[in-house]
Symmetry: C2
Subunit: 489 residues, 2 copies
């Protein structure tokens, strides 16, 4: 645009001329030029970091122990201001020791990768710096949240995308909102009279079970047990894509039980919900349309920058009734526009960060088919990994069968322990293998993957793939690297 | 830096050459140049928006009703991808209809203004795109959170800055964390056995009271009443800076009562906590050092970009014990570094957005004295407004005495109702004045200020000043504008 070009002209002229010595940043009078130059310098640092992050020759991490890192820069806060030069140095230092989460070989968490359109959208969001509570202060973002939640509900399979929803700071908070709704739906008096006005409530979820899946028969048995004790089962949280194994609960069977006992059915699809975008994989969530609420985190499998978590709710109006506090300094009833767009009173939170724009803009840029292709590709990579190691010497799979999500859980057995006859001794050794390989990965900075124990299973690697930058070669690299770093153990 | 300059060279060459037609953005092979050009185009749009935002000749808002705004652009999500040109158009449209929250005449919320260093830091945070749960994935940010929370605790007055804390998504969530801590401290069994294992708990806060202040004698009476009924008072939330009146509760008197009855004392300083940075105003929070926990939102009075809310806790270790779930896929106990830096298990949330860097970088850039000057200036402006209107014809103050924070609550009485004898009739008319003036402000787009009713008080203006861009002239403008837009009512 016109102003954009004018600024670029200003920048070009200013760049070489010792801008740092003159005046202050905006809002200071005549702070424009200095501000533009400063922000452009920061952007140059960020652009260089982005290019580096995607470069396989670059380390994923330049690792230092906490006490070392504390010494590597002056991180202390002072009474006196620093110069803008110092600020730029701080930015560079911060990025130097950061994890390159966009790196094609970063596999450490469920959220990996960096989408360029998502990033641009997040920069815009920061610049707009507003709050989701009312249409008054976030007109466009409120509309985009409306449009996007409706689309997500259509994809879930609710008629005409009807229902309700909200973006919250993360999966745990979204799940908490679902629980509050379930409780309020059954006992609306809880809002005014508190927990002492309701019987003892019981919620069911698999999260702490080792099986990795909620077994319908087991669920029904436990519901009956709870009822026999006089408790009230009010909430079942089925999981679509468990964190460790990537398992999907059988939603249809669970929904039958929930219907039978009149229990709110929630689907925690924080990790697996995105598979709804894939025509090839969405059958894993068959029955999701029977749920009362669904958590779905686009910041995980869809690679939307953090944070972006949606709670979708089938019943309209319930969120408002459950959470509204009528704060009269926000939700004046005599405003001049349609108040149904003041969505803030659906949330327990007062202020709410704008998390919608990055998802919306990415969706525009990719289209639904672009997200589908991205998700399908990650699942292909995961199948490739599974096929590569399932019969490979030195590997054992943690669970049987092909992974349902991109989670591939496996042990790597270095040659030295591969043929140990004493099973207990072997297990004891094996437990130490993954942590050492992981520590070495971080010290070399070549790749990062998670490991953990689970129940009676000793430390194993949990590979997950959500990074759109990863390729078959990166999977090959991971396996080579595990073997290179672990063969002497 | 070197790479930065190289990129700028590339950009210069590429700009005019129809970049949009060739190849894909990163992580596509050879996507560097296209990515740089695209992001730079977005940055140019943002820089232009920033310059405009601080320009008093620009509208604060180009207001449209929701149904109009829905027609003004194609906001729908499609199956097919859009072009990058369309993405840039969407960015421009989104900003065109956004509220300019940085505008010197935007006074609508407790969070206003846009700090250039804070913005740069938020752009960096988006680019680093990581999660606060472990040192492993956010080494620098975890250290900066540690350094900053310690500094904030020193400012509160806790010996050597000892204690604990966390940044959460907002004041409501921070206050919820405080409540969970209080409950756990008194009844640790609640974590495993649930609410049915504890007696009926009672929390006290002023929030719904009209007086605007928690009266110690009243508090004590209510505590005794609750105890007589067999309930257990476990939590008092005193407010340092109420949302509407900006009132500060008498913390010393409240702390005496909390001590006497062994109740957790929380200070909700979401709005007023920042006055601790001011030597001139911090007496308003005298006694805060006696609190067990303090909420303090730098995204309000310190103008840190949204979201940035801290919960500070006096007792060390309690947060971890209260909230930890030992998720073994994050908090492996055999990692190779000091595990006390894996702070994620202090929070109920699993993922946690990086909210620290913008505060830390702004603190570096301003120094403590810079924040102090900024806060003192806003309070001066507020005093100026109070002095200007308290005896001015056509104005009535909503509460007596000088405001303690920057909240100035007042009625504007247009000439037509100024001398009405029928008090009820006058009240009825007055109730309609502020909403109309506000609607006109938004339609003209010249300024924005909040209004509301409160208890038996009809709609009044609640002016708050947290915007570092505001000047005495902007305060004058606000008053002139209210009179211009309201004189015919």
């Amino acid at each position: 645009g016109g102003i954009g070009s004018k600024l670029c002209g200003m920048l070009g002229k200013e760049r070489g001329r010792g801008w740092r010595r003159r005046g202050n940043l905006l809002p200071a009078t005549d702070g424009d030029t200095k501000t533009m130059t400063f922000l452009q310098e920061v952007v140059d640092i960020l652009l260089a970091y982005i290019v580096e992050s995607f470069d396989r020759e670059t380390k994923v991490i330049d690792f230092h122990y906490p006490n070392e890192l504390l010494q590597m820069n002056n991180w202390e806060l002072q009474d006196e201001p620093a110069t803008l030069d110092d600020i730029l140095i701080s930015c560079r230092a911060t990025l130097k020791y950061a994890i390159k989460t966009a790196h094609p070989r970063y596999f450490n968490q469920l959220s990996t990768g960096l989408d360029m359109v998502g990033l641009a959208a997040d920069w815009l969001t920061s610049t707009a710096n507003t709050n989701m509570f009312t249409y008054e202060v976030a007109p466009v973002f409120v509309l985009l949240e409306y449009v996007t939640l409706k689309k997500m509900r259509e994809i879930i399979g609710w008629t005409d995308g009807r229902g309700d929803g909200i973006f919250s700071p993360g999966g745990a908070i979204s799940n908490m909102y679902a629980m509050l709704l379930a409780r309020f739906k059954m006992f609306p008096e809880v809002k005014e009279k508190g927990m002492s006005s309701v019987p003892r409530l019981v919620a069911f979820t698999l999260f702490s079970l080792c099986s990795g899946k909620l077994i319908p028969a087991d669920l029904e048995r436990r519901i009956l047990e709870a009822k026999q004790k006089g408790f009230v089962p009010f909430f079942v949280s089925a999981t679509a894509g468990t964190t460790v194994y990537g398992a999907f609960d059988p939603l249809i069977a669970i929904s039958d039980i929930c219907k039978k006992y009149n229990i709110w059915m929630h689907v925690d699809g924080a990790w697996g919900g995105s598979l709804l975008m894939s025509r090839r994989h969405r059958w894993k969530l068959d029955g999701v349309e029977r749920a009362n609420s669904v958590t779905w985190n686009p910041h995980k499998m869809m690679s939307v920058p953090l944070q972006c978590s949606a709670l979708l709710v089938r019943e309209e109006g319930l969120m408002q009734n459950c959470n509204q506090m009528h704060a009269c300094y926000l939700f004046q009833q005599d405003k001049h526009y349609d108040l149904s767009y003041d969505t803030g009173d659906k949330a327990l939170q007062c202020g709410r960060h704008v998390d919608i724009f990055k998802l919306w803009l990415m969706w525009r840029a990719k289209g639904t088919i672009g997200f589908e292709a991205q998700i399908d590709k990650c699942l292909e990579l995961s199948e490739y990994l599974y096929n590569k190691i399932k019969d490979r010497e030195g590997y054992e799979m943690v669970f049987d069968g092909k992974p349902q999500h991109t989670n591939v859980c496996f042990w790597y057995l270095p040659p030295g322990i591969r043929y140990m006859e004493d099973k207990e001794e072997r297990k004891k050794h094996l437990h130490k293998v993954a942590p050492v390989i992981k520590a070495r990965m971080m010290e070399y900075g070549t790749t990062m993957v998670s490991y953990q124990p689970q129940g009676d299973k000793v430390n194993f690697f949990r590979m997950v793939i959500s990074n759109p930058a990863a390729t078959f070669e990166d999977i090959d690299f991971l396996i080579e690297e595990i073997e290179r770093l672990g063969q002497d153990l």
